[in-house]
């Protein structure tokens, strides 16, 4: 069946997953359902302790067995030790056929690959996968379909009961013996625990893993003792240098600076740029540069931001320091500056849950209140569809993150991408894989010009009196192809190895197995 972004979703895949094809960004508005629920074991006896000596001990107490679904969060990013520690113990116990429901998986989790190969792990749901897990999935090594979901889509799946987590493992920078968990106050601070909050509420068993046990009560807690079954103390939950890196140096790349300048000029020429506007941006060089140049325009024009949403970095937190934004709402911290900011400004730099951030199936999330979001993409096509997951070699190599959520919510969704990355054109006829539907993307900014989605004639009109190089998306594509040639479609095998899940739980696209390139003559 062809879905609303023109992708063929095989009947067999619809049948296996029980899912519908994607029908449009607002097709599920007002969708009615009953939330899922966790099975609870009551803590009545005050004498009972939650502290367990080892991960192995916690696994045994939780009754881990074949076929269970276990979950992890990704606040420790590439510095995470928790996933590997837990999986190593599970592997030793000989448990098979597990589903991993992670908020994201990265290169730090390469050691999981042998467990995919030997059937310990047979299903993965994640925002994305990088490194060797991506290669393993794309090579067809995972037994079942990998599900790539957005941050909002994952929390939707957990809260709606589509995914039932048997055991959630929550790495906590600090914890007390009764399971009050904080993202700070330890050796491996990560700023917030937003992505773990739904897991704590909806998993049957919740295991906190910490390397810093503090006196009770560890408050204010990001995750409350009321949701935690066991506490395990280990030597190290992560590598602090890779959890919160130093602030990225502002880029000196002229292409990125030019795109940042275009972006700022575009933003300030829309009607949304006024006192109290809201804004989210990413961690790419051009995004950070555009935050810096936007701050200058805000100061010059005396315009304040009402709230900023993140994924936060130091340049966004600087807006708070300089009094240019009223409040930051935070789901993830990408550098030390952001981790420090939330501790320094507890009144104006606020931790929110993943559901508050982006869940399309609650009663309203922050993304719906965004004026601007500044995003990146591997590929954008002439229908404004974006791909942020599958690389030009056909291998799964990225994550949806909040890309589709913020694009769907924001009044003005801007994607910044250099027209060419080496020989690979960022603007093309047809993206390899659709992750974010073009109907939710308004503007593409490249170093060669800017394309506005034709359905946004209001924005086209706003830019008429600017000097910005406005082009059609086809013109941008043609400029790229004139330099590098027209790319051939990636040659895939037949087998579907994963799905790109729309944020509402429908199927946006499928990802097929890679195969060696063949010359066709």
């Amino acid at each position: 069946m062809i879905n609303a972004v023109g992708r063929e979703i095989p009947e067999e895949i619809l049948k296996i997953t029980g899912k519908e094809p994607y029908q449009g960004a607002k097709a599920k508005d007002n969708y009615e359902f009953t939330r899922g629920a966790a099975k609870i074991h009551a803590m009545v006896d005050p004498a009972r302790s939650k502290v367990v000596e080892s991960i192995r001990g916690a696994l045994e107490k939780c009754g881990i067995k074949d076929g269970m679904t276990i979950s992890f969060h990704h606040h420790f990013r590439e510095g995470d030790y928790v996933v590997n520690m837990v999986m190593e113990e599970i592997h030793k116990m000989g448990i098979k056929d597990l589903s991993i429901c992670a908020t994201s998986l990265g290169k730090a989790h390469d050691p999981i690959v042998p467990m995919i190969e030997d059937g310990t792990v047979t299903s993965i749901r994640s925002s994305g996968v990088r490194g060797k897990i991506g290669e393993a999935i794309s090579s067809g090594k995972l037994k079942n379909l990998a599900i790539m979901c957005s941050h909002g889509g994952r929390v939707r799946a957990v809260e709606s009961g589509e995914v039932h987590i048997d055991i959630a493992f929550i790495g906590a920078p600090s914890a007390d013996e009764y399971g009050n968990l904080k993202a700070n106050g330890g050796k491996s601070n990560c700023g917030v625990l937003s992505y773990a909050m739904a897991d704590a509420q909806y998993a049957d068993k919740v295991v906190a893993i910490t390397d810093t046990l503090v006196p009770f009560p560890n408050v204010p807690a990001s995750i409350s003792m009321t949701n935690v079954d066991y506490v395990v103390v280990v030597d190290e939950i992560g590598n602090p240098a890779k959890i919160a890196t130093g602030a990225a140096k502002p880029t000196t790349d002229m292409r990125k600076l030019r795109m940042a300048d275009y972006c700022t000029q575009f933003v300030i020429n829309t009607p949304y740029f006024k006192n109290g506007f809201s804004y989210q941006t990413g961690v790419g060089g051009a995004s950070i540069a555009s935050t810096i140049s936007l701050a200058q325009e805000m100061e010059k024009r005396g315009i304040r931001m009402g709230f900023g949403v993140g994924g936060l970095t130091t340049p966004m937190c600087d807006l708070l320091e300089r009094g240019l934004v009223d409040v930051l709402v935070d789901t993830q911290d990408f550098d030390l500056g952001a981790v420090e900011s939330i501790q320094k400004h507890p009144d104006r730099h606020i931790e929110i849950s993943a559901s508050e951030y982006a869940n399309p199936f609650n009663k309203g999330a922050y993304v719906n209140k965004l004026d601007f979001v500044i995003l990146a993409a591997l590929e954008v096509d002439i229908n404004f569809n974006c791909n942020v997951v599958v690389g030009s070699d056909g291998v799964i190599t990225g994550a949806q993150g909040g890309h589709p959520d913020t694009a769907a919510g924001a009044k003005c969704t801007i994607v910044i991408a250099p027209l060419l990355q080496g020989r690979i054109p960022a603007v093309c006829t047809n993206v390899t894989t659709v992750t974010t539907p073009g109907e939710t993307v308004d503007v593409i900014i490249t170093d060669y010009g800017i394309a506005i989605n034709p359905k946004r004639q209001d924005l086209v009109e706003c830019m008429k009196n600017t000097k910005l190089p406005i082009r059609t998306i086809e013109e941008l594509r043609d400029m790229a192809y004139a330099i590098v040639g027209e790319p051939d479609p990636v040659q895939f095998g037949d087998r579907v190895v994963g799905i790109i899940e729309g944020r509402d739980g429908t199927i946006m696209d499928v990802v097929r197995e890679i195969k060696p390139y063949e010359f066709k003559d």
Binding site: S392, D393, G394, G422, R423, I424, I483, V484, G485, P487, D488, P489, V490, Q491, Y517, F519, K520
Partner: protein, 99 residues
Amino acid sequence: MEIKKAAMAGTLESSDAQVTVEPGDNGIDLSIESSVIHQFGRQIKATVLETLSRLEVTDAKVTVVDKGALDCTLKARVECAVYRSNDITENLPWGGVIR
């Protein structure tokens, strides 16, 4: 042109290609490895073969390790390798077979 000895041109830097030519006696034996093979393998092959044909190279073993080079770069690396295999490094036919 005849490939008189093994010669190489180019680097393994991003957006470049390293081209090696060696003597052969059974037509063109071409092997291509590329970081962009899926999207540009066909064009890389066509460009290399066209350049060899323009230089009238009929027998050679040619190895291309491409890191996303544009066609103009690929042409230049093939031409350079072929001339080096003939020890020709000066008075190249600019505007002649080298276009």
